[in-house]
């Protein structure tokens, strides 16, 4: 972007220069890595436009970002946290709309040149301008992700986007909070031109000059005949709204108000005109901004951002940069890690397994992750060809001599993992880090086999690796800080949110989750039905109920994990009487992978409960506990265990713990995580509920010391 004229007048963020009748405005928040729109920036904008409006030498305006790879990342979310009422939030939205209204009505045409992320308020600004040029660079991502924070595009985005690209395409973007690559944004009509970065400034300037001469872009309605039938008339639009609403409800289970509010803002605006639409949009924005859901989503957003900067260990030396990753074990986890590492971290991956056929299958499975990206056009076929050349493997440790990091994902058994560690340590470079992907084996035990236990660590990935956003990093007793920071940094490069947790059975996620499936046995024994258990959990907001979870994990694996957890925490993770899930495993039911578990699976789809399960378990569904009690037992089990584990220092903080629960097993994000949820209920209430449960169902519900302490002191996990 070196071709943009140097600003003639210095101001903190918004600067401009005038040449040849065209003003070139540049936004660059010097103190921040990316541009965001705050009140201060708005004021500067207004001053700038006032000056340009009054300057007769200016015939048209171009606008750029001064950041290398970022246009405008959105509104300043910090400001949302200061909002105390819906009215205040509505005013914030209306202010933004007002500013962009001035941009839209500006007497001189404005062309924007977009390179880098152009999101939320940034894209709403671009929408208000008169001509949009975007670079075809992969970093140029355009979209309105507001609903992901529980709000809606409140600076006219719900009005201007549907008018530009039609209701269907606009709703598709807004309701899912999607961002698109520039090429697709161009196809949809979100930008007027797509150009290589080198000529962005020139082309934007040329467009401004043409507009100064009276030329206006002609935009045809996108979508042709179908576009007219659906978007071009009120009747068609009604169909569009109806199907959008249905989709939203399916996706959100009715837990998230923002997409529905955004839908209303769009619909209202198209029915009653721009001004009315803006008013309604601001109102709805105001209501959403102070909802509990939005607050929680914003908190998660901030927690995730903080975690991105957290080295995970105090006084950590900078991480070792991983250029080459060794992976031992090419099964489902190993290949998932391999494919994700290549796709996200662009790292050279060498896989090793005992048998070449398995290695070959592992590489193909890893490649499937790249195939998927190619199919969804996230990467070009040339990028694809380069990326698959990063995947290789063999049945020896050839190539591991240069691996800065090696992750093992072999069979979950201490002896096997130690054997692999001994073998590979002999060939690794002296600074190489060995990470064990285990869900149940203590890292310190594995590290006992090592010459250099200081470079042994746990990296617990979740399945499927490509989709699950969390990694637990587990330092052993002798792991040195740089090993931790290296594992944390690499997990992040793989696109994961990383929490560092204590080396204790189940680590964080599997430990606090343990009571959830464990309770299934008790509930079934008391006569609850499988459907009731699962549906209550889903209604609470879990992605799947505990019974389905068991099927997904695999019943054999679940039994193994449960044994470890019961062995370690027998006093409060108490199995139900009887054979339980083991009886199903014995009957050859392993869950989804064998086509049969609690449910029947056909052609990869769940086909309902297999009633013969009750017989195998020796239980009889006869109503069982009240639905509210089922739910309470499922949720408070998790809350209680999370509080206990936090008290033991398994997670560093409530923030890490809640993020782990949300990203690790899908604790409902809009509830903020089990610890935040306990805070919301109040420790006193949680303790008293648990005491009642303990009276009737035994010690497994005895409130943890950490909860009791908060109840006594009247304090919270988030101080």
């Amino acid at each position: 972007m070196a071709t943009i004229a140097a600003p003639a007048r210095t101001a903190p963020a918004v600067t401009w220069g005038i040449a040849d009748g065209i003003a070139t405005v540049v936004l660059d928040l010097k103190s921040q890595p990316v541009n965001v729109i705050s009140r201060a920036v708005k004021d500067e904008f207004l001053a700038c436009f006032a000056a340009l409006a009054g300057d007769p030498s200016v015939k048209a305006v171009t606008f750029f970002s001064g950041k290398a790879d970022n246009f405008i990342a959105g509104a300043d979310i910090e400001e949302f946290l200061t909002l105390s009422s819906a009215a205040e939030a509505e005013r914030l939205s209306a202010d933004g709309q007002d500013m962009l209204d001035r941009v839209a009505r500006f007497p001189k045409p404005i062309a924007v040149g977009i390179h880098g992320a152009c999101l939320g308020g940034g894209f709403e600004f671009a929408l208000a301008c008169h001509y949009r040029v975007a670079t075809d660079h992969p970093k140029t991502q355009i979209g309105l992700p507001e609903v992901q924070l529980g709000i809606l595009p409140g600076a006219g985005g719900c009005q201007r986007l549907p008018r530009l690209v039609g209701a269907r395409a606009a709703l598709d973007m807004i309701l899912a909070g999607k961002t698109e690559r520039a090429a697709r944004a161009f196809r949809l009509g979100m930008v007027d031109e797509l150009v290589p970065p080198a000529i962005l400034a020139d082309i934007t300037l040329a467009a401004a000059k043409r507009m100064a001469g009276g030329w206006r872009p002609k935009r045809k309605r996108p979508g042709g005949v179908v576009g007219f039938l659906l978007d071009g008339n009120p009747l068609g639009r009604r169909l569009v709204y109806r199907s959008a609403r249905k989709q939203v409800l399916e996706r959100t289970g009715g837990h998230y108000p923002a997409p529905l509010a955004a839908l209303e803002a769009v619909e209202y605006g198209l029915r009653h005109g721009l001004q009315e639409g803006l008013r309604r949009e601001a109102q709805l924005f105001g209501q959403l901004a102070v909802t509990d859901v939005s607050r929680k989503l914003v908190q998660i957003f901030f927690a995730t951002n903080q975690l991105k900067k957290d080295p995970g260990v105090a006084h950590a030396p900078p991480p070792v940069r991983v250029e080459r990753l060794g992976i031992i074990g090419s099964g489902f986890m190993g290949s998932g890690i391999a494919g994700t590492a290549v796709a996200q971290a662009d790292v050279d991956v060498r896989m090793k397994d005992a048998d070449l056929t398995r290695v070959g299958q592992g590489i193909l499975a890893a490649r499937a992750i790249l195939d998927d990206r190619l199919k969804r056009r996230r990467i070009t076929k040339f990028e694809y060809a380069r990326l698959i050349a990063l995947l290789s493997g063999g049945d020896t440790y050839a190539g591991f001599g240069r691996a800065e990091l090696t992750i093992e994902a072999v069979f979950e058994e201490l002896g096997v993992k130690q054997q692999v560690l001994r073998e590979v340590e002999a060939v690794l470079p002296s600074t190489g880090v060995f990470a064990s992907n285990t869900s149940t084996i203590p890292i310190t035990r594995i590290a006992e086999a090592a010459h250099s236990p200081e470079r042994v660590i746990g990296m617990h990935f979740f399945s499927p690796v490509a989709k699950m956003p969390l990694v637990e990093v587990i330092p052993g007793a002798r792991t040195e800080p740089q090993t931790v920071s290296t594992a944390v940094a690499f997990g992040r490069r793989m696109g994961k949110t990383v929490i560092v947790v204590k080396d204790s059975p189940g680590f964080w996620v599997n430990r606090i989750l343990a009571p959830y499936p464990n309770e299934v046995g008790h509930l079934l024994a008391e006569g609850a039905s499988i459907e009731d258990i699962d549906s209550m959990a889903v209604r609470f907001g879990f992605p799947v109920g505990p019974v389905t979870l068991l099927d997904e994990v695999g019943l054999d694996v679940a039994v193994k994990v449960a044994e470890v957890m019961q062995g370690a925490y027998g006093d409060h993770i108490v199995p139900a009487p009887g054979a339980g899930v083991a009886a199903l495993v014995k009957a050859g039911r392993l869950g989804r992978k064998s086509g049969r578990g609690f449910y029947i699976y056909k052609g990869g789809k769940k086909r309902g409960v297999d009633d013969s399960v009750y017989g195998l378990l020796g239980v009889h569904p006869n109503g069982g506990p009240r639905p509210a009690e089922i739910l309470q037992r499922l949720v408070l089990g998790i809350v209680n265990e999370a509080a206990r584990a936090l008290g033991e220092g398994v997670a560093h903080s409530a923030r890490d713990g809640d993020i782990g629960a949300i990203f690790g097993f899908g604790f409902p994000p809009f509830r903020g995580g089990p610890l935040r949820y306990a805070d919301d209920l109040g420790a006193e209430r949680v303790v008293s509920d648990l005491e009642h449960l303990a009276e009737r169902h035994g010690v497994r519900f005895a409130p943890s010391e950490a909860l009791q302490e908060h109840a006594r002191q009247g304090t919270k996990f988030y101080g």
Partner: protein, 419 residues
Amino acid sequence: MPGLNGRRVAVIAGVRTPFAKAGTVLKDARAVDLARYAARELLERTNLDGHEVDEVIFGQVVPSALVPNVGREVSLLPQFPKEIPAYSLNRACASANQAISAGQDQIALGNADVIIAGGAEALSDIPILASRRLADILVEASKAKSLGGRIKTFAKIRPRDLVPVAPAIAEPSTGESMGQSAEKMAKENHISRDAQDRWALRSHQLAAQGTADGRLTAEIVPWLPTRPGATTVRQDNGIRTDTSLEQMAKLKPVFDRRYGTVTAANSSPLTDGASAVLLMSEEKARALGYEPLTYIRSYAVAAVDPGWQLLQAPIFAVPTALERAGIQWKDLGLIELHEAFASQVLSNLQGFAAKGWDINEDIINVMGGSIAIGHPFGATGGRIVITLSNEMRRRDVQFGLISVCAQGGMGFAMVLERR
């Protein structure tokens, strides 16, 4: 001893893909895929950081029109920085040898320290050409200014124009095919059918032995499937463990059905494969901590009139290479002689014997040769350098010779030394 010309050049390591008969297990792979695979696995085996490499040189005899410079595609592997220059060359069946000697030159001259040289050929994927007339019409049509003009041009196409043209393995200067040349050499040098079959049988038996005891497979990097359902290829698939002289004797001669002696069994098959060899200056090898397999002591290339005995040029290249090395035939402890045809091998040996050299078959092609292992034109030279270097190390042989005949009446010879 130091290099006779400039710096001494070490052969550090080499690998190759399995060699597979064309149209079989490697038929989905393009030459560039095979070449990249071999080069990347060479890095894996040697733990070499791609940044150390100064140049990549690859040989290919029948290049693809889509990837004309296979060497550059190798050096654009993500394991290398993008700034490594690369080229591809063609010295027919000695192409990989030429790549290796070109690399040796550059290192000896001090222009480079580390070079990856090799070769690739995918005879499953030879370019099939359009007829010249069809090509002319297509070019003309692409220049037409209107749709009508284009259609008018296309209307000139006749059915016979649509018959594709496959490249033949024949000498452009004489029209004589490789096989016809081999046939001619058999006749002029009085090489019997039986002698040829025996040599071929020997090749298969020794290659089978080398495969079974792992000496030959040590240089192979297994080829992993590139799509579900494909198989892992661990070894060469042309080596026959079950053949016999009787079976070979049943085959009909291919190139001269009446009086001929050259058959499919005593010729090398059309083959897919690639090889890659890591070369370094002696000092660089020491600095990086590599123990060289062998050093390149000398090489020589010769050519004869293709109309004479097309594959007999080695008898001129070898004496020159020996002379440049400052050694004599009797100093050689191992010899790798490329086997295009058994009649060519026996003709070459006859030529050597005529110089008064003692032919000791026990040190020639001790793990068989191209007849059994296969002959991907561009890759064979690399295979021979690797096979010889590995075996020189195993037997601790001081001097080894490579002799390769090539299309166009050319011959290539190289002397390797162990210390």
